[in-house]
Symmetry: C2
Amino acid sequence: MNSPTAAMVVEASLLIRPLARRTPVMTSRSVNERSGKTVFFKCENLQRGGSFKVRGASNLILSLSPDQVARGVVAFSSGNHAQGVAIAAKHVGAQATIVMPEDAPRSKVEPTRALGARIVTYDRMREDREEIAARLLEGTGATLVPPYDHPMIIAGQGTAALELLEDAPHLDALVTCLGGGGLTSGCALIAKEMNPAIRIFGVEPELGNDYFLSRQAGKPIKIPPPTTIADGLRTMSPGKLTFPIVQELVESVLLVTDQELRETMRFLLMRMKILVEPSGAAAAAAVLFGKLPADIGTVGAIISGGNVDLEFQV
Amino acid sequence: MNSPTAAMVVEASLLIRPLARRTPVMTSRSVNERSGKTVFFKCENLQRGGSFKVRGASNLILSLSPDQVARGVVAFSSGNHAQGVAIAAKHVGAQATIVMPEDAPRSKVEPTRALGARIVTYDRMREDREEIAARLLEGTGATLVPPYDHPMIIAGQGTAALELLEDAPHLDALVTCLGGGGLTSGCALIAKEMNPAIRIFGVEPELGNDYFLSRQAGKPIKIPPPTTIADGLRTMSPGKLTFPIVQELVESVLLVTDQELRETMRFLLMRMKILVEPSGAAAAAAVLFGKLPADIGTVGAIISGGNVDLEFQV
């Protein structure tokens, strides 16, 4: 498959308008004081389906032919991509079948089912979701909507950075969470096009550091199934399309602990009044816990999602 | 004191710009489906200080003379007004002294103290906060910043509706929570000016129904200290300035139960990913629990605040 381009991100931004919300960019005095930087948060937790994933899924699914739509779509997903696919599939009238881990949060499974998707669960410690998806595709003619390693998916996710840089043009750096690399590579492509001097950082959980180790090795390596609380960042290896883009455009991969993710979620909820899931807090955690170089003054950070099972009492 | 006017709300909107954020207006498919209406939420929980209160406090405090600023300000508040006053006082360099109930949420007390305000606590079941404030004012020459019953406070709070109707002009109805009546009367004044056909509703907790009972009686009556979880709506009687405005412009006062407030908070947190305090959920609860007349299609609801002590685990 061809590598995606910045122009494809611009095209995606027009195509996905009926399905993806233009999310607000929020600022917080508390965050600026604590981090010593000026921080702009792109709030994809307020996106339709609760994460940025509807951007990429819509970009691919809105490009399908009527014939492809009639044969349906299949996706494998830790949860948020499932909702994105289900939203776009419902919009075009395609049957969606989604392969999800048994231990996915209820807040990701239930809305996906409510959107009319068929859900197939698997044991993520012992089964391979790509194999299950391949079996589901056999003989059906359905289209696979991969979670990150596809040019249309990458281009769609990049629209988050396109909007962020329209609203906050003078950023020294852009920080995104790094799972499969779809969000990071799409955002890096368009951000470097809009502002060649911008510095790009990806953030992984320490307990899910496949990109970090792959960069050290100079090639994609595979790690065992991660145990981090950041369920959206439990990928075991970088994508074939995303890894070279990350290698070229991302200055460094920063690591955050699960405890830093928890504290960041609490900070964003109590101070900024927004609910952010563990994966969604990764970029903010890197900012709040001082992982960025000191010479960076103005930062855009993508809050990637807000789907988390939270138990609380009032 | 003179009654406030719609023109004063417009003036306030210019004056308070350095201190009050223009908060986002959010929509939600889940809310529209469940309520059968098209709902626009004005998110004052995302306001500076976590509630709309900074609007009124800024409007009054930014109008003080240098001499008045030098003598400081005094306020009594269940919590959110305290933060609003502390923010505006810090901005102009005035010492703020705030009288707060002993059982105010930590999420309201601590940020107020952090802003440099002096806090005096009282027992809201046995002491009268207005008397304590009056004693603090004696001989100091400080200015009292009342929580609602002042034309500049009412005009400032009205700016929330001014912004909402700029962003969502074609509303059939506007719904606000109703405590002392500052927000409701300021919003009603400007909303009726911008759209004379708009229908205005105030929402009270069943366990804090001083306006509801006062309207039945045709005059302000006083209830015992309310026990509702909506700590921002525990006023015991309507204001002298606010009651006549509410009587004239508000179609009816709707009542919600504490359980409806809890369920609304959970819904707004899990589906819309925003943290809303019990008082802040009142207008949304009226919409979600079908308290509005059936012939209303398009509703603006003010989410008034987000300061709540929440215990949770991830």
